[in-house]
Amino acid sequence: MGYLTVPQINTAILRLAANHAGICELIALPEATYEGRATFALRIGTRSPTRSGFLDPVRLVPPPVGVLFLCGVHARERGGPEIAIAFAADLLWAYERGQGLRYGGKEFSASDVEAIVERLNVFVVPMVNPDGVHHVVQNPGSNWRKNRNPADGGGNPGCYGVDINRNFPFLWDFPKHFAPGVAPASINPCAETYRGAGPASEPETRNVRWLLDRYPSIGRMMDVHSWRRRVLHLWGDDENQSADPSMSFLNPAWDGRRGLDDGTVYREFIPAADRFAVVTLAARVRDAITAVRGEPYTAIQSIALNIDGKDWFPTSGASDDYSYSRHLAEPGKSKVYGFTLEFGTEFHPPWAEMESIILDVNAGMLEFCLAAVPPADPFPEYAEWRRLLRWQTLVPVLGLAALAGGAWLVSRALAAARRPGA
């Protein structure tokens, strides 16, 4: 194998869905890209997603938790789609044979694989930005990152495109929300971090939003990028704090004061339990990746630089912050723990190295899934009652009761008919 072209990536997605029908569903995302390309997702799982948080009416257990992986957002970060394809192929292969998976020094048992496929819905978007990936295949020296929307480029091909990972509706209007001089994105169409003409102005961004809206069971999201060998957790706009809920992206009183590097003016609120959850999960993914062949990944808050932890590079409009912010900004939306994984040490590694990176990242992705697997029975004390109340039990019992009742009524009628004088 080698790096795949856009048609090859799409063929792989379609073949995986066709070859594993029943546990792998093809989802065509609703919007075509600027150049007219379709975008696909795969849903892996034996149980169908539900539109609500209600109990599964058949099994009387909570609905399957959704885990979403985004790959191929930034075109030049080669290997993202191949990581997604290999992950899906291996997971499906192992499940269908009742086997586990071993990635170097990291092993997942057959029970782990079974739990992931049977108790989760794993959504994988191998190539969020097919126009950009196609452009890089055609022009490998272009170092192209963004999509290919020419609208704001002023006719200059070098200034085409929007950075999809600065286009999500989270503090998108950064000149208003951040302190003067802070540049979490760019308003310059020629810049690599150009935010676009409006929040979610791009079809690629809206396709991701559609997935989150359509499948509210999604509770974890990982956006796979390169390169720095890092697992990044919330928040990306400023340092975290868990003491003051009013110091939040929702509060316009803090506009113009976010993103400074001293951490004393503004820090973004995250409840302590959520903070613990994301820090713990990022570390768990890091450890799984490192176990494969010892690659030194770090788990770190999205905003922090590696040297002395200063928060000098905030982001706005990024997918990880957006996915988590939704439940705070829009009541009724699900809470999604958002992460960004940055693999490798260069944008376009030699394929031999990319094969090793795929193993690293796939191990991290499986661990990410495993951490989301709900207990087989969240309420074991009621297991016996649930067993009795399942329709498979109730229908025969009620049927027998109805038959017995009918027989009793018939016998009563016959007895009355035989009674003298009747």
Partner: protein, 115 residues
């Protein structure tokens, strides 16, 4: 769409950090590309640098602005060289089975049932 022939190559560079103020100016420069998200690191020689990408003709502009810049590689040339590894084998093409990934399988438990 092919790039125009005169599109300059992109260089991978390391910029030595001199002060908080110079870093702030760098981060605000739309022509300097810091990758997915910027990060500084300490080189083996102890110097703290930030990795970046920039169109080749702009390196001298950065230097004239007072930044100490080391060119690491011609990212465009590296990508062109590795393009031979793109699309050379499509194991998913029609009629062939889905490939497995690259991993080794763990033998099934004796009590495991295939699904």
């Amino acid at each position: 769409m092919p790039e125009p022939a005169d599109t300059p190559d992109v260089l991978q560079i390391e910029i030595r950090l001199q002060s908080a103020e110079s870093l702030r100016r760098l981060l605000a420069n739309p022509l300097v590309d810091f990758g997915c998200r910027a990060a500084t690191r300490r080189r083996p020689d102890g110097v703290v640098v930030i990795d970046a990408f920039i169109a080749a003709p702009l390196v001298d502009t950065l230097r004239r602005d007072g930044h100490e810049v080391d060119v690491v590689a011609n990212a465009s040339a590296v990508a062109r060289e590795r393009a031979v590894e793109v699309g050379r084998a499509d194991l998913f093409e029609r009629g062939r089975p889905s490939r497995r990934g690259l991993v080794r399988d763990v033998p099934a438990r004796p009590d495991a049932e295939a699904h």
